[in-house]
């Protein structure tokens, strides 16, 4: 198994430590090594390119230069960072931006979720399975950053991405088909224009529920926060008597691997995912007993 350099990004370092923890335990269980990029800095997110496009090259560019010196492919867990780093790499490769670092760009920028959903990794995941999530119905939500624009991200299935679906399938859950896999959740203006965030999140949650999902599975820390943290307010506004747990794909893997170490992270969600997990565990032990008793 080859090692990868890892770019965590600010979100994972601050509010979404739950994502980061689940990544580290899950990749550990799979025998993969992620080595943190030394002295990494923020990729600039939406702010840099909105106010000054040059910064959207300078900030990711410096990180790419450090990564190149490390000499391994660069794995990125946050879709926003993945897109900013990939876009910058492409601009430099096509010589559409000044390359202050004289880069060779002989390494790849890799989306961690897609990496984990490659055939050999899926096999490893199945081997590591302890608690199959049989009976769990989920919708996978990819968000806007990780697949588009396809020329930058390299995703040819941007109309209907499947890699998260394959991951949840590998651990026995059922991914449902739905129409909003790549529709933006509005996180980037969620603070300054909360009305937009509330509208988009309400749409996604109600559709996920109408599709019959027990939970949503995401790969983006900004989406997770937006979809999870706005639920109390939405329930109050719309009189919803329901809520929907929002899992990172790595948490789903962690639960299926039986990793106790990810439980504190799960507890930090606003919509508690544990009752659902407990219910599933019960069902699957009953199943097992039934099978055992013939």
């Amino acid at each position: 198994m080859r090692d990868l350099t890892f770019y965590p990004g600010c979100a994972l370092q601050s509010m979404t430590w739950d994502y980061r923890e689940s990544i580290s335990h899950v990749v550990g269980a799979l025998g993969l090594r992620l080595l943190e990029l030394p002295d990494w800095t923020c990729c600039g997110a939406t702010a840099a390119h909105s106010l000054d496009e040059r910064m959207a090259i300078l900030l990711p560019g410096r990180n790419l230069a450090v990564a190149e010196a490390e000499g391994r492919d660069l794995a990125v867990a946050c879709p926003m960072c993945f897109k900013r780093l990939s876009l910058c790499r492409e601009m430099l490769r096509q010589k559409r931006a000044d390359d202050l670092w004289s880069l060779h760009l002989d390494f790849s920028v890799v989306d961690l979720a897609r990496y984990l959903s490659s055939k050999p990794m899926l096999q490893k995941i199945q081997q590591r399975l302890r608690f199959p999530l049989t009976g769990m119905k989920v919708v996978c939500y990819y968000g806007c950053q990780v697949v588009r624009p396809p020329k930058i991200t390299g995703y040819s299935d941007y109309e209907n991405p499947m890699h998260l679906d394959h991951l949840v399938q590998a651990v026995g859950a059922t991914p449902l088909d739905w129409s909003f896999k790549g529709t933006c959740c509005g996180a980037s203006s969620g603070i300054a224009r909360k009305d937009i965030g509330l509208t988009l999140v309400a749409k996604l949650l109600t559709w996920a529920r109408a599709t019959g999902a027990d939970a949503m599975v995401v790969c983006c820390p900004l989406c997770q926060n937006n979809l999870d943290l706005l639920q109390p307010e939405l329930r109050e506004r719309h009189g919803w008597h329901w809520q929907l747990p929002i899992f990172y794909y790595t948490e789903i893997l962690g639960v299926a691997f039986g990793l106790q170490a990810i439980v504190p992270g799960l507890k930090s969600h606003l919509v508690d995912p544990q009752p659902l997990i407990a219910r599933l565990r019960q069902i699957s032990t009953e199943d097992r007993e039934m099978i055992a008793s013939g």
Partner: protein
């Protein structure tokens, strides 16, 4: 549904504007045939005063002022639906972003001042620590709004405090910002490029 767009008188500079954009960004607005695929795929077009396809049209017509005053360019989420689905490969999202940049570089007041302020504070925190800390970001942003005389409704404040407390209990708000050792290098880079 379609709102009428009033055209402004054109100066020579406005007429050359579409060319200038094409030179700078490679975005060729001339190939737009107003099929509305961009607008129909846009998740926030209902919140926009000028819809994505209208923005492209207005560039063709050299209506610079109208676009630089619009709130739509700030409402745009950079989600790239429009660019991905445009049959003529017009980078509508890139155009929206270029317009935002032009508002700032020409010293105009952004039509959505809270969105612009949020981006600005984000870059301040980035400049100071090299990394973003959510608590710092939120505190500074709310403080700036307050000192600019925007008193939030009491109900809003109550909700914010409640959310803040439950995040704090869950250890999701880190009090101490993390600093990247490369922050000096970052400042030098940005300084070199005039920020």
């Amino acid at each position: 549904m379609e709102q009428q767009v009033q055209l402004l008188p054109l100066s020579a500079g406005d007429q050359l504007w579409a060319h200038a954009i094409a030179m700078e960004t490679g975005i060729q607005v001339a190939s737009c045939y107003q099929c509305l695929r961009c607008t129909n795929s846009c998740p926030v077009s209902t919140f926009m005063d000028i819809k994505p396809h209208q923005a492209v049209r207005l560039v063709q017509f050299g209506q610079r002022e109208k676009l630089l005053e619009s709130s739509a360019v700030w409402v745009c989420l950079s989600c790239e639906m429009c660019s991905t689905y445009c049959p003529n490969e017009i980078d509508v999202a890139g155009l929206m972003n270029h317009l935002k940049n032009s508002v700032i570089s020409s010293g105009r007041k952004p039509a959505e001042k809270e969105i612009a302020l949020f981006h600005e504070i984000f870059l301040d925190v980035l400049h100071k620590y090299g990394r973003i800390n959510d608590l710092q970001l939120m505190q500074r942003y709310k403080w700036r709004l307050l000192t600019a005389g925007n008193l939030p409704p009491l109900d809003e404040v109550r909700k914010d405090v409640k959310l803040g407390m439950s995040l704090f209990r869950r250890k999701r708000l880190r009090l101490l910002p993390e600093r990247s050792r490369a922050v000096k290098e970052i400042r030098a880079l940005l300084h070199h490029y005039g920020r």
